[in-house]
Symmetry: C2
Subunit: 221 residues, 2 copies
DNA sequence: TAGATTGTTAATCGATTAACAATC
DNA sequence: TAGATTGTTAATCGATTAACAATC
């Protein structure tokens, strides 16, 4: 049964991985039913871990049969919150269209790019990632009017913390920090840091140490 | 003393975070000496964890004094492998200049963007991210001639796995997968997955569950 | 019924935290 | 010497793995 408290961070990451893989299966039309063994093998997790991950949230499978792909997708999307719409604003007029395109199959349903902010007067009103660029002065107004839930941060280091404070005052629900700069946020405020520097640093460590170690070479961030 | 085997993945990520924060301190010129307490508070880790992380690799501090920032930077860069040069190739002609600019302060020393590959004839020879675009047919040649260590993947899903196989045959040392698509690589091959889909999925989970939980809201990937 | 595969309990393994002697 | 802070040991906490009864 649900013990929705204190799920390991790693479990939530795995859930995202399952979700993506299951969607791929559904798109291909097969298999309709998947075992923990197959799903685990595909993604590099043990079958026990797969079952444990699902069992932590309920009984999603059928003994002797496996998990129905379509069921599992519904369950996981409910757990992760991908069964609702999330409106996103980008801070910093950076072209992400190619990156967004790669993520489209997963991202397009629950997420909607709704606003882009910049302080460059010459960019205002132009389209970027399919959205008109707004001036950063209108941050609070647009966030509230457009009901933005999530902000993706790609602004210069020096102005970022002030903007983050304004975002939080405006009632933003969560922040994805796409820069390597640390943000100060209230305790427990939902913040995910995703940046190239850390990814590359970690990769270098693994490259230099991969002969010696035995596992956990596949790192997700 | 060193027990270079089996360092927790989380520790390596924290090491990257320390490294970045210490570089900021050095750039500002102060403090020259930092305690585990201060460093931990700044980054949201406990002082015990900070000391444990360093002690796992050696004795970097002075009892009663703390850690010399400049020493610590050297130690960590040696551990992570940021004391050497890494040549990087990008697969998929995607403009990353803005994103690279954000990461510049950390990235610029150890990493060098050396090549960009694409299969679009019209793009060949043009500059992207400061480098001339090469045709993907020349992958093996360029990788070997330019001594590329790391590939960043931003190619379309359907062609990617073949390219990954070619990269590995060419002797690439590690791969940073910037797309949400799973790559098949040999056991223990250094691979880091870094993608927006997973970041956003995790963020959504944290947004919907942040009232109930107590800690670990700050997730790094 | 026999084979397959889940959900769960117990055992192991690993990481974090607390406490404190060592020492600058 | 007194105050500060490390490095390390022991205790706690948490996550993963192994094993197996339940059951489709």
């Amino acid at each position: 049964m649900k013990d929705k408290y204190a799920m390991p961070k790693a479990r939530i990451s795995r859930l995202s991985a399952y979700f993506h893989e299951l969607n791929r299966m559904q798109k291909e039309g097969r298999p309709k039913v998947v075992s923990s063994n197959l799903l685990g093998k595909t993604l590099g997790f043990s079958q026990t871990q797969v079952r444990k991950d699902f069992a932590a949230f309920g009984e999603f499978g059928k003994k002797g049969v496996g998990y129905f792909v379509s069921d599992l997708i519904l369950h996981i999307s409910r757990i992760l919150g991908l069964n609702q719409k999330w409106n996103i604003a980008l801070l910093g007029a950076v072209r992400l269209d190619k990156i967004l395109a790669h993520n489209r199959t997963i991202i397009d349903n629950p997420f909607k790019f709704q606003a882009v902010f910049d302080n460059d007067q010459t960019k205002l009103g132009k389209l970027l990632n399919g959205v008109e660029i707004s001036h950063i002065d209108n941050l609070e107004k647009v966030i509230q009017e457009q009901n933005i839930h999530i902000a993706i941060i790609l602004t210069p280091e020096l102005v970022t913390q002030k903007l983050v404070n304004r975002l939080i005052s405006s009632g933003i629900k969560g922040i994805l920090n796409y820069t390597p700069h640390r943000l100060q946020v209230p305790d427990n405020f939902p913040l995910v840091n995703l940046n190239l520097s850390m990814g590359l640093s970690n990769l270098c460590y693994y490259i230099r140490n991969c002969e010696e170690e035995t596992e956990s070479r596949l790192a997700d961030y």
